[in-house]
C-alpha cells in the first residue's frame, strides 16, 4: 500500500521479572496510513501504552518487525531510533513532561534544535505554532509551573510539532486536564490531523476517541477488534452512537 506510513507485523513484547514472564503484546499486526487519526483503547494493563511506545521506537519489541515507510526500524540501534524519533515523530504525554527548569520557548527549542541549527527559524516557527494553539507571546518566557494544565499541554503539542513530524504519538493527552482544557487540546490535535499529520493516540475517554477515524481495541495484548469511523463526518451524531455501541460490545 503506497500510503502506509507505519506497519507492525507479529509484534510481541514480553517483560521478564526473574522467572515470571509477562507477555504484554502478542503477535500484533497493525498498519497505519498517512493522515490516519488512530486511537488505541482498552482496559488498564491491556498493553496500550506499550504498543504506542513500541510503534514510536521508544521501546524495542521482543519479537516482530516495525516498518516506517518501508524501512525496518525494529532493527535500529538506540541511537538510530533516537534520530528516527526526532525527525519523524512527535510526542504528547498525559503528564505533559515539560522541563520545569526551562521556559516555554526553550522547551520547544530543545526539540527543534535537534533537527536544525537555524535558531532563528526554529524560534519563529515555535512562536507561530504557539500563536496557532492560542498562546500569546506573553507565554514565551514563562516557566511551565506558571501555566495552566491546558496551556502546558498545548506547549507540549507545539514541542511535538516543531519538527513537522509525520506521526504524532499521544499517550492520554487529556487525561490530566479539566474538560474545557481537554476540548481545547483535542481541537488542536484535530487541526494537526487535518493538516495531514498522522496521530496515534492512547485514550480511555470516549469523547477523545470520537475524534479519531480508526479505533483499535486491545485486550490482554491482542487487538480484539477495530472500528473505522472514516465514513462519518466529525459532527455526525451517528459517529458517537456507533462508537458507543462498539465499546459496549467490547465490555466498556
Amino acid at each position: 500500500m503506497s500510503n502506509t506510513i507505519l506497519k507492525a507485523e507479529m509484534l510481541s513484547k514480553t517483560y521478564s521479572n526473574g522467572s515470571i514472564m509477562q507477555h504484554v503484546l502478542k503477535n500484533l499486526n497493525i498498519e497505519i496510513k498517512a493522515g490516519d487519526f488512530t486511537v488505541i483503547m482498552g482496559s488498564s494493563g491491556s498493553g496500550k501504552s506499550t504498543l504506542l511506545y513500541a510503534l514510536s521506537g521508544m521501546d524495542k519489541p521482543t519479537l516482530g518487525t516495525i516498518d516506517f515507510k518501508g524501512e525496518a526500524i525494529s532493527n535500529y540501534s538506540n541511537d538510530q531510533l533516537a534520530v528516527f524519533r526526532r525527525k519523524h515523530c512527535g510526542f504528547v504525554f498525559q503528564q505533559i513532561y515539560l522541563n520545569d527548569t526551562m521556559t516555554v520557548l526553550d522547551n520547544i527549542m530543545i526539540s527543534g534544535l535537534l533537527v536544525s541549527r537555524d535558531k532563528k527559524a526554529i524560534a519563529n516557527r515555535a512562536k507561530e505554532l504557539l500563536q496557532q494553539v492560542g498562546l500569546s507571546d506573553a507565554s514565551y518566557h514563562k516557566y511551565p509551573s506558571q501555566l495552566s494544565g491546558g496551556e502546558a499541554q498545548r506547549v507540549a503539542i507545539v514541542r511535538a510539532l516543531i519538527n513537522a513530524p509525520e506521526i504524532v504519538f499521544a499517550d492520554e493527552p487529556t487525561g490530566a486536564l479539566n474538560s474545557t482544557n481537554a476540548v481545547n487540546v483535542l481541537d488542536v490535535m484535530t487541526e494537526v490531523n487535518a493538516s495531514g499529520q498522522s496521530i496515534i493516540m492512547v485514550t480511555h475517554d470516549i469523547k477523545t476517541a470520537r475524534r479519531a477515524n480508526r479505533i483499535l481495541y486491545l485486550k490482554d495484548g491482542v487487538i480484539i477488534d477495530e472500528l473505522n469511523l472514516g465514513a462519518y463526518r466529525k459532527d455526525d451524531p451517528d459517529r458517537h452512537k456507533i462508537l458507543r455501541e462498539f465499546l459496549e460490545s467490547m465490555g466498556w
Binding site: S49, Y53, S56, M58, D59, K60, N78, D79, A82, V83, F84, R85, R86, K87, C89, F91, F93, Q95, Y97, N99, D100, T101, M102, T103, L105, D106, M109, I110, S111, L113, L114, V115, K119, K120, I122, A123, A126, H141, Y143, S145, Q146, R159
Partner: protein, 789 residues
C-alpha cells in the same frame, strides 16, 4: 509498621547512598581508630617498653677523663638512684652499609658496646637472634629491621675513613634512647667480647669512651635531671671537649614520638575531612530521600505516625548505617594492623603491637555516631514542618522562576553545551557540594604529595625545617682550629665555610628558666638556612634570638632581656628575634661569637661547616681531611648525608601514609561523583526519558551531564590544587605548631599542582562518564516510568 521497619525499608531503597555512606564511615573509622589508639597508647607503650629492659633515665657518653667527677655530679642530684658505667668505643666518622639490601652507605656516628658486659640498666633483649653469635656479630637497633629491611645474617660494612670491616648482623635490640636515628643521630651497636676488644685495639675505628646509664627516682623529672647534669658538667668540662652526648628519657620519649604523632594528627585530620564529606552525603541523601518519598511520608502521617517517629526512623536508618560502617571500619583497621604496626614501629624504632583498644573503639564510635546523628537530625528536621496533606500533594512545590540565563533562541552555544550549562546552573546546590569535596580532596592531594616530595625526594626543605645547616661536611677541631679552618677554606672544591658551634645553654627570664641548644656564629647572615621567623638574628654581642617554644617556656617575648648562665658566669641578652627549629624539640637560641665571648672570653668556635662545590664527593673529601689532619686533631662527618639518612627512617612511613591517603582520596572522589550522578539520573529520570523520547541520543545526554559536571570537577580540582600550593606550608606549620614551627618552606612544585589538577579532573570525568553511561542501556519509556534504581 514500626520505626525499625521503616528504617530498613529506606536503606533497601537507597542502596547506592547507603553503600557510599557505609564506606565513608568505614574509612573515617579506620583513620579515627588508628589515630586515637596510637596517640592515646603511645605514652604508656613507651613507658612499658622502657620498663621491660629497665631502660636508662639518663645516658651520658664522654671520653672517660672525668668519670669520677661525673659520678659525683650524678650523686649530688637529689633524684639520683643508681648508675652503671661501661667502656665503649666512640666512632664519630663511621659509615654503614648493608651489603645485602644494596643500600647506599650511611654516615652516622656510632658507639660500640660489649654485648657480654653484665648490665642491670638498659638490658639487651635480642630480637631475631642468630643461632650462634659469629665472631664479627653485631646487634643493631630494631629500627634498621623495620624501616630499612635489615635481616639477621646480613653483612654490615663499617667504614671509618680508610679503614673498613664487615660485621654480621646477629640480631636486633630495642632501646628508647637509641630507638631511631631521627631522634639521636648515633647508632648504639653491641659487639661480641672478642670483636669489641679488637676494635678497642684499633684506634682507626674510634676512641675509647665512657658510657654511663643512670636510673633516677623520678622518671618524669629526667629532663630536669639532665639540665642539672649539663649545668654541672660545664664547670668541669669546657664546651666541645670530651662530652659526646647526654640523653634524658623525657626528651627522648617526646622526640621519638614526634613524627608518629604528626602522622597520627594527619590521619585524624583526614578522618575529620572524611566525616565532613559523610555529613555532606547525609545531607544530600536525606534531602533526596524526603523529596522522593514525600508521598510515603504523607501516607505514614495519615496513618497516624508522628513526624517525630518518622524523623526517628531516619535517625535509626543512619544509626544502622553507622553501626555497619563502624564495624566494617574497625574490622578493616584490625585487618591492616600489620601495616599500622610497620608504620608506627619504623617511626619510633620500637616494636609496636596494634591491638583492639576498647577506649579507642568507644572514643571513635562516639565521635562518628555523634557526627552522623547530628547531621542527619538537622538534615531531616524539616520533616517536622510537613503536614500529611502537603506531603500527599508531593510537598510544597519548588517552582523555578529564575532568570533564563541561557535562552536557546539566543545563545551561541551548541544545543548540548547549552543544555549542559543549564543543568549546571539548575543543579548548583549539588554541584557546589561536589565541588567543595573535590576541592578539599585536591588540596589534600597536593599537601600529601608535597609532603612526600620534601620528606623523601628532596629533603632540603625538611632539613631547613629541622633548623640545621645544609653543609655537606662538619669538622670539629680538637686543636689548632684557626690554622686548620683556614687551610680547609682554601682547599679546592670548598665553596664556603662557616664557623658554627652550639652548646646547651640555660636561659633565664625573671624566675623562669629553660634549656636551649644555643648556636654561636660570628655572622648569621652567612648561614644558608635562615631560621628567623620574626625580628632578626643577633648582630651585636648583647643580642639573642630564641625559638618560640623557649620564649613560651620563659614567658618572654621580643624586646625582653634574658640571661644566660654559663660556667658560673651570667650575661644578659636582648631578645631581637624569634627562630624556629624542629630539632632539640624546638628548644633553641642563637647568639653571636662576640656575645659568647662575654660569657667565655677565650671562646673559639671549634666546629666548621663546610659547603662543597657542586659535584664534589663528600665521602672522598672527608677521607682526604682525615688523612691530612688525623683523627686526633679533627673529627669529621658527612653532615648533610647523616641528616638525610636520619630522615630516611621516615620514608617508609611517609610512603605508606601518602599512598593510603591518595588511594582513599581516589575512592572518595569516585564514590561522591558516583552518588551525585546516580542520584541525579534518578531525580532527572523523567527529563532524561522525555529527552530520549524527543530524539536525544544517549551520547548526547551523557555529553550534557559531562558538560554540566566538567566546570565543577575541573574548577574544583584546579582551585583545590592551587589552594594546596598556597596552603601546604601554613597547614604544615599549623600541625607542627606544638613543636615551635611558625613558618614552613616546603617546596611545592608547580608541576605537582598541574598534575594533581589534571589527575583529579580525569578521575572525576571518567567516573562521571562511566556512571552516566547507565543512560545508554535504558529505553526512554523505562526512564520516565520506572526510574533507574
Amino acid at each position: 509498621m514500626n520505626i525499625l521497619m521503616i528504617a530498613t525499608n529506606n536503606i533497601k531503597k537507597a542502596k547506592v547512598a547507603t553503600a557510599t555512606l557505609i564506606i565513608l564511615i568505614a574509612i573515617a573509622t579506620i583513620f579515627l581508630y588508628v589515630g586515637i589508639s596510637v596517640l592515646s597508647n603511645m605514652d604508656t607503650f613507651i613507658d612499658e617498653k622502657n620498663a621491660e629492659t629497665n631502660g636508662a633515665h639518663l645516658i651520658s657518653i664522654t671520653d672517660g677523663t672525668y668519670d669520677q667527677e661525673i659520678q659525683e655530679i650524678y650523686q649530688s642530684i637529689e633524684a639520683y638512684s643508681y648508675s652503671e658505667r661501661e667502656e665503649g668505643m666512640m666512632s664519630m666518622s663511621s659509615s654503614f652499609q648493608n651489603i645485602n639490601t644494596g643500600e647506599e652507605a650511611n654516615s652516622i656516628p656510632a658507639v660500640f658496646l660489649n654485648l657480654d658486659t653484665a648490665r642491670e640498666i638498659s638490658q639487651v633483649k635480642i630480637i631475631d637472634q642468630a643461632q650462634n653469635m659469629p665472631k664479627n656479630g653485631v646487634i643493631v637497633p630494631y629500627v634498621l629491621k623495620v624501616a630499612n629491611g635489615y635481616q639477621t645474617g646480613d653483612t654490615l660494612k663499617l667504614t671509618v675513613d680508610d679503614a673498613s670491616t664487615e660485621l654480621e648482623i646477629a640480631g636486633f635490640y630495642e632501646d628508647l634512647m637509641f630507638a631511631s636515628p631521627s631522634n639521636v643521630s648515633m647508632y648504639k651497636l653491641f659487639l661480641g667480647y672478642q670483636q669489641f676488644q679488637e676494635f678497642l685495639a684499633q684506634p682507626e675505628y674510634g676512641s675509647k669512651c665512657s658510657y654511663i646509664a643512670v636510673i633516677t627516682d623520678d622518671i618524669k623529672g629526667t629532663e630536669a635531671f639532665e639540665s642539672q647534669y649539663i649545668k654541672e658538667i660545664k664547670t668541669i668540662m669546657p664546651e666541645g671537649t670530651g662530652s659526646y652526648a647526654s640523653l634524658s628519657y623525657g626528651t627522648m620519649k617526646t622526640g621519638v614520638a614526634i613524627f608518629i604523632n604528626i602522622i597520627m594528627a594527619v590521619l585524624l585530620s583526614f578522618s575529620i575531612i572524611i566525616l565532613a564529606i559523610a555529613a555532606i552525603v547525609i545531607k544530600f541523601s536525606t534531602t533526596t530521600h524526603i523529596e522522593n518519598n514525600i508521598k510515603n511520608i504523607g501516607t505514614l502521617e495519615a496513618m497516624g505516625y508522628t513526624t517525630r517517629q518518622i524523623l526517628g526512623s531516619i535517625l535509626v536508618e543512619y544509626l544502622l548505617m553507622t553501626a555497619v560502617g563502624f564495624m566494617v571500619g574497625l574490622g578493616a583497621a584490625l585487618l591492616i594492623s600489620p601495616v599500622i604496626t610497620n608504620v608506627v614501629s619504623s617511626s619510633i624504632g620500637l616494636r609496636w603491637a596494634t591491638g583492639l583498644y576498647p577506649q579507642a573503639v568507644l572514643a571513635s564510635l562516639g565521635v562518628i555516631t555523634m557526627a552522623v546523628l547530628g547531621i542527619s537530625y538537622f538534615s531531616a528536621a524539616k520533616i517536622k514542618k510537613i503536614t500529611p496533606l502537603t506531603a500527599l500533594r508531593s510537598g510544597i512545590e519548588t517552582h523555578h522562576f529564575g532568570k533564563n540565563r541561557i535562552p536557546l533562541d539566543q545563545t551561541r552555544l551548541s544545543l548540548n553545551t547549552a543544555m549542559g550549562f543549564k543543568s549546571l546552573i539548575f543543579n548548583k546546590r549539588q554541584n557546589l557540594i561536589a565541588g567543595l569535596i573535590i576541592m578539599l580532596l585536591s588540596l589534600v592531594t597536593v599537601f600529601s604529595l608535597a609532603s612526600y616530595y620534601n620528606f623523601s625526594v628532596d629533603k632540603t626543605a625538611m632539613i631547613k625545617l629541622i633548623g640545621l645547616e645544609t653543609a655537606e661536611v662538619q669538622v670539629t677541631a680538637l686543636a689548632d682550629e684557626a690554622k686548620i679552618f683556614e687551610e680547609i677554606a682554601a682547599m679546592p672544591g670548598v665553596e664556603d665555610t662557616i664557623r658554627l658551634n652550639s652548646f646547651d645553654g640555660m636561659i633565664k627570664f625573671k624566675d623562669k628558666e629553660s634549656s636551649a641548644n644555643t648556636r654561636v656564629t660570628a655572622d648569621y647572615s652567612r648561614l644558608k638556612v635562615n631560621t628567623c621567623v620574626k625580628g632578626r638574628m643577633p648582630v651585636h654581642d648583647n643580642e639573642i634570638a630564641i625559638t618560640s617554644i623557649v620564649l613560651d617556656n620563659l614567658g618572654a617575648q621580643m624586646g625582653d632581656t634574658v640571661s644566660i648562665d654559663y660556667n658560673g658566669t651570667t650575661r644578659e641578652f636582648l631578645v631581637v628575634g624569634v627562630t624556629q627549629q624542629f630539632n632539640m624539640l624546638g628548644r633553641g637560641a642563637a647568639i653571636t661569637t662576640a656575645g659568647m665571648k662575654k660569657l667565655v672570653p677565650s671562646y673559639q668556635e671549634q666546629n666548621l661547616m663546610i659547603y662543597l662545590a657542586e659535584g664534589q664527593d663528600t665521602e672522598k673529601f672527608v677521607t682526604k681531611i682525615n688523612n691530612q689532619y688525623g683523627t686526633d686533631k679533627l673529627q669529621t662527618n658527612s653532615y648533610f648525608a647523616s641528616i638525610e639518612m636520619m630522615l630516611d627512617s621516615f620514608e617508609a612511613s611517609i610512603k605508606i601514609v601518602v599512598t593510603g591517603c591518595l588511594g582513599i582520596i581516589a575512592v572518595i572522589i569516585v564514590f561522591v561523583l558516583f552518588l551525585v550522578i546516580r542520584v541525579r539520573i534518578l531525580r532527572e529520570r523523567t527529563r532524561l526519558g522525555v529527552s530520549k523520547a524527543l530524539g536525544f541520543t544517549a551520547n548526547q545526554l551523557i555529553g550534557q551531564i559531562l558538560i554540566s559536571e566538567m566546570p565543577v570537577i575541573i574548577g574544583a580540582a584546579v582551585v583545590g590544587a592551587i589552594a594546596g600550593y598556597f596552603a601546604t606550608n601554613p597547614m604544615l606549620a599549623l600541625m607542627l605548631a606544638a613543636n615551635g614551627i611558625l613558618n614552613c618552606d616546603f617546596y611545592v612544585a608547580p608541576s605537582l599542582v598541574v598534575f594533581t589538577a589534571i589527575g583529579i579532573s580525569l578521575l572525576g570525568l571518567v567516573t562521571v562518564l562511566i556512571v552516566a553511561g547507565k543512560i545508554r542501556k535504558i529505553s526512554p519509556c523505562q526512564m520516565f516510568e520506572e526510574g533507574v534504581d
